[in-house]
């Protein structure tokens, strides 16, 4: 794609050119400057696309459910983009991306674009470039964009700020009513799915969930979280999930809902971009000066504490930029 101008590259993505989009997502993952320049030409206002998030613990059936959702949306004639995030190894940096194989029945469907992303050390259940990759898929013109997080535990709630409808996938083995009452991920979903509902413990799990959800103060926008039992492998309950998605979308899109979502997303994205930019500028600034190593050595030997070290680096940086 390097032979194209930024505008031409963006144009190809808008024309749903899969290779141009794939190359752009790779450039995003590599944090190449050109990626940001192309993205500037791909800004799509919030609202046109239905943006869904699917989260839940490892092995709960997220990828299988996403595959079922793809089938359902395709039946309605909608095109679908999927970003499936799997974890990177904190030791080797490698990753085994195994979500796509659950969705491979859609491999030949030109109305479906699936991209696996490794988290590359980014916390919160997503990969660093996920938000940008979502923007690429929106620009390609997909009617629905689905983000599948890494297998999450209790606290990975980033996805909820970036999608319109967040779906939490649980199973009958999720634990007791105490687990269902906890803060964090249990609070951020708009739809709770109890997958593998053909396993023992289904009734008790649904009850625990419903009670826990009812004990919470009602959501600000008046949406009551439904609990939907499913068996993704046989597509049982999928119609109900789709109908709940449609209900929530309609609910969110009335009044100020969409505007509020857009604000919340911009706020989250802005803070991530600013943090990234500050980190980049500061590390660029001290690169090659040996300062980083010097401070790390000092911290290791106990000569300085990490808080003072950070303050010193920051004040050096601020003094230097003030002079410039």
């Amino acid at each position: 794609m390097s032979e194209l101008s930024v505008e031409q590259w963006a144009q190809k993505v808008k024309e749903n050119d899969r290779r141009a989009a794939a190359k752009l997502i790779s450039a995003i993952e590599r944090k190449e400057k050109i990626a940001r320049d192309v993205l500037k030409n791909l800004f799509v206002p919030v609202g046109k696309t239905t943006v869904l998030g699917v989260t839940g613990s490892a092995g709960a059936g997220k990828s299988c459910l996403v595959s079922c959702l793809i089938s359902a949306f395709r039946k309605e004639g909608k095109t679908v983009g999927v970003i499936a995030v799997d974890p990177s190894s904190p030791f080797t940096g490698g990753a085994f991306l195994g979500d796509r194989l659950r969705m491979q029945v859609h491999g030949r469907d030109k109305g479906v674009y699936i991209r696996s992303m490794a988290s590359r050390g980014y916390l919160g259940g997503l990969a660093r470039g996920t938000v940008d990759a979502m923007r690429v898929m929106e620009a390609m013109g997909h009617d629905v964009v689905i983000v599948e997080t890494v297998g999450t535990g209790q606290d990975e709630i980033d996805v909820a700020r970036l999608v319109q409808t967040c779906i939490l996938v649980l199973t009958p083995t999720m634990g007791d009513d105490i687990q269902a009452m906890k803060a964090g991920i249990m609070e951020v979903a708009q739809i709770a799915i109890l997958n593998k509902a053909d396993m023992p413990g289904k009734e008790k799990a649904i009850l625990d969930l419903e009670v826990a959800l009812r004990m919470r103060p009602a959501a600000e926008d008046g949406w009551a979280v439904p609990v939907v039992p499913t068996v993704a492998t046989t597509k049982e309950g999928i119609d109900e999930v789709v109908s709940q998605i449609e209900k929530h979308q309609a609910h969110m899109r009335q009044g100020e809902g969409l505007k509020k979502f857009a604000f919340q997303k911009a706020e989250k994205e802005g803070s991530v971009l600013i943090k990234d930019e500050i980190e980049r500028v500061i590390f660029d600034h001290i690169r090659g000066t040996g300062l980083r190593r010097k401070y790390l050595d000092k911290i290791v030997t106990g000569e300085i504490d990490p808080y003072t070290a950070v303050e010193e680096v920051m004040s050096l940086f601020i003094k230097k930029t003030a002079k410039d």
Binding site: A22, I25, T92, S116, R287
Partner: protein
């Protein structure tokens, strides 16, 4: 310094897949695991994939390497189809390597067809990783 940083963000991405009517995937899974341990990002496509499925996935995932695994004796049937699909899609900068139970006398034929290297059962890990690292597009 700049170079080192770029290399850190430049991960090698590999697509591993079983091709054709071949349900023996233990070897493919072992390879996936080894490449992951070597710091690569590995997309595993699973079993019973046709050449077009593999190439379509390779485009969407923007991989650097395609690694079909054959334990069914169908390597001479599917490899030309795979190469043809790669050509049609313009994936000329993607490294094609094959693995599995492949008779030694078939290896020159596979290479003539366009496979860059063949790693049969019993291959050691290190040479595979070294081969990928030194032959992948940059």
């Amino acid at each position: 310094m700049r170079k080192a940083k770029e290399d850190k963000d430049r991960k090698i991405k590999v697509l591993v897949s079983k091709v054709g009517l071949d349900g023996h995937d233990r070897g493919a899974k072992v390879i996936c695991s080894l490449l992951k341990e070597a710091g690569m990002e590995v997309v595993y496509l699973g079993m019973y994939q046709m050449p077009k499925d593999v190439v379509d996935a390779a485009i969407d995932e923007d991989v650097d390497v395609i690694g079909p695994s054959f334990l069914s004796g169908e390597h001479l049937v599917y490899t030309p189809l795979l190469v043809e699909e790669m050509k049609k899609a313009g994936l000329d900068d993607v490294l094609l390597i094959a693995g599995g139970v492949i008779p030694a006398e078939d290896i020159p034929t596979l290479k003539e067809m366009g496979v860059k290297e063949v790693f049969t059962a019993g291959s050691l890990t290190e040479p595979i990783i070294r081969y990928i690292r030194s032959n992948v597009r940059r």
